[in-house]
Amino acid sequence: MSAMTRQGVAKLLARQGILVAFVLFMVVFAIANQRFLAIDNISGVIRSSAILGVMALGVTFVVIGGNLDLSVGSMMSFSTIVVLDLHDKLGPTLAIPAMFGLTLLLGAFIGVLVGYLKLNSLIVTLGMLSAIHGLTLTWSGGKNMDIADKEATWFSVFGQGDIVGIPVPILIFALLAGALSLVLGRTPFGRKVYAVGGNGVAATFSGVPRARVVFFTYLISAFCVATAGLIQASRSLGSQNTVGQGMELEVLAAVILGGASLLGGSGTVFKTVIGVLILGFIQNGLLLVGLEFYAQYIVTWIIIILAVWLDIAAKRGRLWSSIA
């Protein structure tokens, strides 16, 4: 093969690699299993992706702002356990705002550490992953949390309800995606998130309050996590302490798949939604072709590596390089 064509292929793979891979996956799955493209399967994939998707929306803000959030999975467990516990103690009408308040407090704490104290976000949120898990276990005493009377509560509407035939989790995901898309793409705050992530020093030199912007990205992330926790709790009306375990990586995979750069400054809410769906369909497809559920952990890792690699390859214009 001539150097020119090889370069052309490399360039195409580097630019549209994710899409190319996605199309290949879809074709293979559709041939392997007829059920893959059935309406109920597609709606099932979207529905089961909703919780992950809602969390990915918030992490999109954090990543575009130039930081990471690895605490979302653990934080989602916290929200779920807290709202289930308070449901029986305070009743759903008070439990939901109380849970949101507590989760936002956790987000604000991370926001202060990363935004105002300028601590490395990887370390802070990795630490919080563990710390929040401890908090959750302390809250629950290590036991599973269940709602006492599962038939009598209206609380199940967020996870199990339908409105005009559309599952509520999908509705929440869509509405939140729409709203946050407007915030990121059309408001001064959104513009500042891009500026801070694109070049924090230049943003400071332009009078953008960098610390405050970073703080709010974590608050938005926490809000999304609380929403995800609400859906999760409402869907199952009972939960283990580890319900969100490992989701931080899947969320990150979805955000990167969507094309947000880990260096910050690029990405959109819409692209993240696409990333969430790609991840959902790939996982579902692998199940349908008979891959064991546990293999998904490995698949998620492969997808992250692939996405990060292609992101870097697109930037340097070559798939690999021996020099930095």
């Binding site: 407007l182 408001t187 001064p188 070049n199 332009s206 009078g207």
Partner: protein
């Protein structure tokens, strides 16, 4: 060694970059056992010449001869192998490693199975250190050494080969007087060993103390070689800046208004002390000095990026406290920073978004950004500043340096500031755009802005300023009006030579 055969000879070196003739026929030679000074203003071509000598750039024309043998060097490693070694101004040492490891980095002596031969490493290092007469040994951690001693490590690194020519680039920039004495001893020792030395420095007193001959570059051209013992500072200065210099002030003359910005006794730790000056509306005040003289730090203090340790800042006669860039912007202060790509622009964002960034909070209709208002501002300043871009959607990173700088200037003009601080406005910008930006600065002053221009380029400062503040080592050494300033007196003021020496 025969003193008549030059150890290093350059013949008609030409190096061009797109749009710039950085070196235009440079020829000179260095004799064994000679200290040869290379002088010239910032941008005269010294560093390009050194990169050619070091194998980083290839000359377009001309030859390099070592002991009259033509050589081609395509990498710093090759240059070193041929005996041409550099002592860089900026130290490139690994703090956490020992002196020995730093000196032999990349070429550590080995035993079988790739194990490092520590005994030999330390022995060889100590042998080199002994010739330098230093107070530390091979096992000392580099991070624990003073800057001067770290420089000695750099020199020791150069001595691992048998050097024929050693090039010192501003070696005394961060040394105390006592440390300089040690450095000069080392240079004297290298001399007696017959090594040819190129010594680059702005400091006249050093040049006259230790060098044998002086070669001068100006605008990439070789302006001749002087024998140090037969010349004086004035002659060297004259060769450096020449008479062809365009000293005529821009024809735009205009009335000045009240004092817009006044600074009294401002101090920021060790960075600068006792700085007082004022800028009137319609006036351009130039700040001239060597890199590290404290000029940028003053600008950053006024813009709220540094907290002063003493002194006052007054805007329109009112004392103000400026705790952040946000407050500075609110007070009508704008800063076009020194590092355009690092501090001035978000390269991945488009032209319009960069330009409206400081006022993005006011660009709204309801909760959302008003697209029309933003584009209107961009269009206005694109036309006003003649910014050449295919459209506002263009990523700023794709524009030329001159157009990028205009985006930064447009960003601040659209805020209608009272005080505009411009730090190194034409760094890395081609000649044509340079004069455009100079004219723009004069026009802005004519429109009533109070402008501060910080520059390391003398022609630039002389051309645009109504008044020039000279700085040396964190202090203002002298203030000149544009009528009284001369190149000699300005050079002396920034070198820290007492101003009463000026005729």
């Amino acid at each position: 060694m025969n003193n008549d055969i030059p150890i290093l000879r350059l013949e008609g070196i030409v190096k061009t970059f797109p749009g710039v003739r950085a070196l235009d026929g440079v020829s000179f030679n260095v004799l064994p056992g000679e200290v040869h000074a290379l002088m010239g203003e910032n941008g005269a071509g010294k560093s390009t010449l050194m990169k050619v000598l070091g194998g980083i750039h290839q000359p377009d024309e001309g030859r390099i001869l070592i002991a009259e043998e033509p050589v081609v060097m395509t990498s710093p490693i090759q240059a070193k192998a041929k005996g041409v070694v550099f002592i860089h101004q900026e130290l490139s040492l690994a703090d956490e490693l020992s002196v020995a490891e730093n000196i032999f980095l990349g070429e550590l002596p080995r035993k079988t199975f790739g194990r490092v031969d520590w005994t030999r490493l330390y022995a060889e290092t100590d042998a080199i250190l002994k010739t330098l007469n230093v107070g530390f040994n091979a096992r000392t951690r580099v991070g624990d050494l003073s800057i001067a001693n770290q420089q000695m490590v750099e020199i020791a690194r150069a001595l691992t080969v048998d050097p024929r020519a050693v090039i010192f680039d501003e070696p005394t920039a961060s040394l105390t007087d006592a440390e300089k004495v040690v450095l000069f001893d080392v240079i004297a020792d290298l001399k007696t060993r017959g090594v040819g030395i190129i010594y680059i420095s702005h400091r006249m007193e050093e040049i006259f103390k230790i060098t044998d001959r002086i070669s001068v570059l100006r605008d990439g051209e070789y302006r001749g070689t002087l024998v140090t013992a037969e010349t004086d500072e004035d002659k060297v200065t004259q060769a450096m800046i020449g008479r062809s210099l365009d000293l005529t002030r821009s024809p735009l003359q205009h009335e000045m208004g009240d004092i817009a910005l006044e600074v009294r006794g401002l101090e920021c730790g060790a960075l600068y002390q006792d700085v007082s000056f004022s800028v009137r509306k319609g006036e351009v005040v130039g700040f001239y000095g060597l890199v590290g003289a404290g000029r940028t730090e003053i600008a950053e203090t006024i813009f709220g990026l540094r907290a002063p340790s003493a002194g006052k800042i007054l805007i329109n006669g009112q004392e103000v406290r400026i705790g952040s860039p946000i407050e500075a912007i609110r007070l009508g202060i704008s800063l076009v920073p020194e590092d355009r790509k690092g501090q001035g622009l978000v390269l991945g964002m488009n032209c319009r978004d960069n330009m409206t960034l400081p006022q993005v909070d006011d660009m709204t209709a309801g909760p959302f950004l008003a697209n029309g208002a933003e584009v209107a501002i961009f269009d206005q300043y694109r036309d006003k500043l003649d910014i050449r871009t295919p459209g506002w959607r263009q990523q700023v990173g794709n524009l030329s340096g001159g157009n990028q700088q205009k985006i930064v200037i447009g960003k601040w003009l659209s805020m209608h500031p009272e005080v505009l601080i411009v730090d190194e406005p034409t760094r890395g910008i081609d000649v044509g755009s340079k004069s455009e930006i100079h004219n723009l600065i004069r026009e802005l002053a004519a429109q009533g802005y109070a402008v501060i221009v910080i520059s390391s380029e003398m022609p630039e400062v002389l051309h645009v300023s109504d008044r020039i503040v000279a700085m040396h080592n964190g202090r203002i050494t002298r203030e000149f009006t544009s009528d009284e300033v001369t190149e000699d007196s300005l050079i002396q003021a920034i070198s820290g030579i007492a101003s009463d020496k000026v005729a």
